[in-house]
């Protein structure tokens, strides 16, 4: 899949805006998950600004593709992408985690139009995506079902129950994108609970598996296109991402999994200006946040 250079540039710049919004909302909220949100900014941007069939002004449109976020704690990135796509005003992002907000610390389907499911308790998103894909097939509906999962939530047995069923059902209309950022709250995934070999496990369960650089728009879009072209299996795209991507002091550090800028993890001295530093860095980088920039 070849994307026009201008399109790639446009997506890269939008992803940077999404990242800046993530930092701004987390600083304002004073709590929340930084690393995973930043790491998935490129994939969410690709989805909301290029891949998805959707209409932000008509979030209940029947024919829309369904995007389910299973690891709900990275919702700041989804909120930011949705706001920039036009689902709600960008300024509403500042209400994150505050009393009365539609943007709870973990997503709530009922209050936020366009949010396909509530999530937070890990491991149940893929099951819901499987249910949607089966229901679509029963009625011969053409919607694509996208499910975003994390590597860490693959500790949960339910994810594998869903993976098994998706394989048995040969759900061609289901594409899972796994955020393979190698971190979870208590440490690196392979230290907490080894997940590898992920590719072979999923292949054994009857999935078509692709591995990509999760910060490369051509790779993201190309993998989704390939997933759509595979008609006999569900597709898993293992997206290798850098947690904290774009903010150098956060990158690749599991300690930033559950902390906002300014409140750093316990072994990091909290700095009041960390949020400003992060924003300054992102502004300097512009559309140049690629895996190579490191």
């Amino acid at each position: 899949m070849h994307l026009h250079e201008e399109k790639v540039k446009e997506l890269e710049e939008m992803a940077n805006k999404v990242r800046q919004s993530i930092i701004e909302m987390l600083v304002e909220a004073g709590s929340g998950h930084s690393a995973g949100s930043l790491g998935m900014a490129d994939i969410f941007t690709a989805l909301y600004f290029h891949i998805l069939q959707h209409d932000p002004k008509n979030p209940d449109w029947e024919a829309r593709d369904r995007l389910l976020l299973s690891n709900g704690h990275i919702c700041p990135v989804q909120y930011a992408a949705m706001a920039h796509a036009g689902y709600f005003p960008v300024k509403e992002l500042k209400t994150l985690r505050k009393l009365g907000t539609r943007l709870q610390g973990h997503p709530h389907r009922i209050t936020l139009p366009g949010m396909e499911t509530s999530s937070g308790p890990l491991g149940s998103g893929l099951s819901q995506a499987v249910g949607m894909a089966i229901a679509c097939r029963m009625d011969n509906k053409k919607n694509w079902i996208y499910c975003l999962t994390s590597d860490g939530e693959h500790d949960a047995g339910q994810t594998w129950e869903a993976a098994m069923m998706a394989g048995r059902e040969k759900l061609y209309n289901l594409i899972q994108i796994m955020d393979r950022n190698n971190i979870q709250i208590d440490g690196n995934t392979e230290d907490v609970m080894p997940l590898e070999p992920l590719r072979e496990k999923y292949e054994a369960f009857g999935w078509h598996v692709l591995e990509i650089d999760g910060h490369n728009f051509e790779a993201i879009v190309g993998a989704v296109e390939e997933g759509k072209a595979i008609f006999e299996k569900p597709t898993l795209i293992i997206a290798h991402t850098i947690p904290g991507k774009g903010v150098s002091f956060m990158e690749r550090r599991f300690e930033w999994h559950g902390n906002p800028p300014g409140k750093g993890p316990e072994d990091v001295v909290p700095k009041a200006r960390q949020g400003v530093e992060a924003l300054n860095e992102l502004r300097t980088l512009g559309g140049k946040i690629k895996s190579e920039h490191q």
Binding site: R66, H108, R109, I110, E116, T117, S118, S119, G120, P121, G123, S124, G125, S127, Q128, A129, V130, G131, M132, A133, I134, A135, C136, M138, D139, K141, G157, Q158, E161, A162, M164, M165
Partner: protein, 332 residues
């Protein structure tokens, strides 16, 4: 005879030698098969227990709308949530111990918090499961279901009412839990017995009752037998079939407390958090009344024949009679 005529119970309700018997789970199977005919959006999911939950009766008629989930109740609950999001009306079925026992959080988050139109059929609830023993006897399910916002909780008294409850659940837009039992129990309601979700039904109605016996599920029949025994001893009573634990018919329960001044609750469930607790919550607020709580007293079940277990756990009509006398003595 103080049997409430309007309840249109069977003529042989008081005669255990004559009354026909069937398990309430049969009503689930029949209800699914009948309503499935009328509404093509109904789909049924099962976790490797389709024969004993009777979901097989639906599968035979509508194989394309049946989804075998294997022994994976957590996945089943969330798959159902996803299907409901696309317009289906999924019924998930297993033993109550596993669904909602094992998949409570998935029911809470992906079904109730999402307000998805999923129905949960919990089979083999109560100690009357029998020989399978305590691991398979769900006696906590009413408590864990009624505590979740957006959930409706139904506990039908016999197989006829179970069919009505299943059909009613399909027609409610929102999550519903319906509780079923394994063992054959008396069929004492009829097609003409009123059934409306959220409305308690008076089955026995002596003049000037001294005590009200409130029950749900097959235990309602034991309550009716107990009322008959009390009547013969000159003690008048009222029996209420509280098939809907949530939303609670507060008006009818409060009226019973005011009229009788003493309450006995009877359930095949832990006394903590079940029918009795739900009634106590209402009465403590509206009309504090002495109560006796009959059920499983904070312990696990046992292996045994169903009737042995009901006797062992003190839920026979004679036990209800004793509880009624105790609570009447406590009246001020």
């Amino acid at each position: 005879m103080p049997l409430n005529k309007n309840a249109k119970l069977t003529d042989d309700v008081l005669d255990l030698s004559k009354v026909a018997q069937a398990p309430t789970r049969d009503g689930f199977g029949n209800g699914l098969a009948k309503e499935g005919e009328k509404n093509s959006n109904i789909v049924v999911l099962c976790a490797d227990l389709s024969e004993s939950t009777r979901s097989l009766w639906f599968q035979k008629k509508f194989p394309d709308r049946f989804l075998e989930c294997g022994v994976a109740e957590q996945n089943m609950a969330s798959v159902a949530s996803g299907m409901a999001a696309m317009g289906k009306i999924p019924f998930i079925s297993s033993y109550a111990m596993f669904s909602p026992g094992r998949n409570w959080e998935q029911i809470r988050t992906t079904i109730c918090y999402n307000r998805q139109n999923v129905k949960i059929g919990g089979a083999h609830a109560g100690v009357s499961v029998g020989p399978d023993g305590a691991t398979h006897q769900a006696i906590e399910d009413i408590a864990i279901m009624r505590v979740i916002p957006n959930m409706t909780v139904l506990v039908p008294a016999d197989s006829v009412e179970a069919e009505k409850a299943t059909i009613a659940a399909a027609r409610i837009n929102g999550p519903v839990y319906v509780r079923f039992a394994r063992e054959k129990t008396p069929i004492f309601t009829t097609l003409d017995t009123p059934f409306e979700v959220g409305r308690a039904e008076v089955f026995w109605d002596s003049e000037k009752p001294e005590v009200a016996l409130i029950s749900c599920g097959p235990m309602v029949h034991n309550a009716v037998l107990a009322a008959d025994m009390l009547e013969k001893e000159g003690i008048s009573s009222r029996v209420i079939n509280l098939h809907t634990i949530k939303p609670m018919d507060e008006k009818e329960i409060t009226r019973a407390a005011k009229d009788a001044g003493a309450i006995v609750t009877v359930e095949e469930h832990q006394i903590m958090g079940g029918l009795g607790s739900a009634i106590a919550e209402v009465l403590a607020k509206n009309y504090p009344t002495p109560m006796e709580f009959m059920g499983i007293q904070d312990r696990f079940g046992e292996s045994g024949e169903p009737n042995e277990l009901i006797e062992y756990f003190g839920l026979m009509p004679k036990d209800i009679v004793e509880a009624a006398k105790r609570v009447i003595k406590r009246k001020k």
